[in-house]
């Protein structure tokens, strides 16, 4: 499969379309609704500690979830895999041309995750409503889903040059609240087998020290005889290209 650098070969594909914007707007709606419900319930009950704690838990879990998803698509499947094929292809292309993500417009970047979030949050929220869940549950869902949806933006900021990132974002990256350029940069070295988490990156230390992903890869290998991509060096046509060299070549 010959990789296509969309930034050079098809730059319009980096722009947001109205369909992208609609998906992202719906994604925000599906995230803000549980947050609003949580705020109302918290105000009613007068207790904010539990919902805040639950929100924090949601943020922490989102980081872990981002790592697991990232590990799975980086290592298994391909462009023809059902449901995830386009994501897998996009992640592979991202390894080759990591800077392209900074050229994507906002909705263009986030719409696949927005779609996933909508289809996950709606049934969960329906269930929570039936159970008459409290502020904490809604806060957890809202923050977790929100961080997952925005993770692609956090990811893009981690690729952006320091001077181009808004100051508040830079401060959050420095504080470890959002994944930093340095932490994520460590992932972009062959064989791309560490630092998979892209919300805050807080889980990366533990996951890598305890070789959690390596253990999962070994189990999958012994059970299903499938090797993850990170066990081999990337094929030559998929190796990372420097931004300047690529742009110079395109001129």
């Amino acid at each position: 499969m010959k990789p296509t650098n969309v930034a050079i070969d098809d730059p319009t594909s980096l722009r947001s379309t109205w369909s992208h914007r609609a998906w992202v707007a719906s994604g925000f709606a599906s995230v803000l609704t549980p947050l609003a419900k949580s705020a109302v319930a918290a105000a009613d009950s007068g207790s904010v500690f539990e919902p805040l704690l639950a929100a924090y838990a949601g943020y922490v879990l989102a980081d872990l979830a981002s790592g697991v998803f990232h590990w799975a698509v980086d290592n298994y499947g391909g462009p023809s895999t059902p449901v995830f094929g386009s994501q897998i292809e996009a992640f592979q292309g991202h390894h080759r041309w990591p800077w392209t993500i900074t050229r994507r417009e906002f909705a263009n970047n986030l719409h696949p995750l927005a779609r996933a979030v909508i289809f996950t949050v709606l049934p969960i929220e329906a269930l929570l409503d039936v159970m008459e869940a409290g502020a904490a549950a809604h806060a957890f869902v809202g923050i977790c889903a929100g961080c997952v949806m925005l993770s692609q933006q956090f990811h893009a900021w981690a690729h952006e040059k320091a001077r181009r990132v808004p100051r508040a974002v830079a401060a959050l990256q420095a504080a470890g609240v959002l994944v930093s350029r340095q932490m994520h940069g460590a992932h972009h070295r062959p064989p791309y087998n560490i630092n998979y988490c892209i919300v805050s990156g807080a889980w990366n230390g533990v996951l890598d020290e305890y070789k959690v992903f390596e253990a999962m890869e070994m189990i999958l290998f012994f059970r299903f005889a499938v090797r993850p991509r990170s066990w081999s060096e990337p094929r030559p046509e998929w190796r990372e290209e420097e931004e300047e060299a690529e742009e110079a070549a395109a001129l």
Binding site: N193, E214, I219, F222, W231
Partner: protein, 214 residues
Amino acid sequence: MACTSLPKHPLTLLRAPINKSSPPSPPAFPSLSNASHSQFFGIKLSASSLPNPSHSPKRSMLVFAKVSEGNVPPSFTLKDQDGKNVSLSKFKGKPVVLYFYPADETPGCTKQACAFRDSYEKFKKAGAEVVGISGDDPSSHKAFAKKYRLPFTLLSDDGNKVRKQWGVPSDLFGTLPGRQTYVIDKNGVVRLVYNNQFQPEKHVDETLKLLQTL
């Protein structure tokens, strides 16, 4: 065999080797605090109690044995990467570092093999031989050894029979073949059993440390 379904729990008794190459002296006991005192020759299955190390181990009868420190392990003959038959008894007279690993061309095993390769001179200096064992076939071993320039023997444990016989425990609830290394002295007695799945390079340090004391 039931060996692999009870990983890591120390057993109370050992089996004396019944093959010709074993020494006639009584086998040493495994260094387990709950070991029972009776001596058995051959494997004996007991219907009266099941092994349950957390309760009264002195009541448990021998069900199966694994190779531990102080034992003379059962001999075997396996094919090496060139398809030649190699017996454990071939190495009598010099120390052997026998390392069981999950599979060729997996990250941990590659790190381990390369670590043994890079320290191979130190092993030779100690007069020891290094031998790797996994369930892969000879052609897989040959390719693996060639790719990483491994100077030592790799043996094919077809069907993981030797692994089971020696009682190498599995990891992660039986899903992963364990990574366990035995240092056998020149008299054929096991002097160290070291297990570490996720820090493969440590096997080199630990075995070298032990070899210095032999």
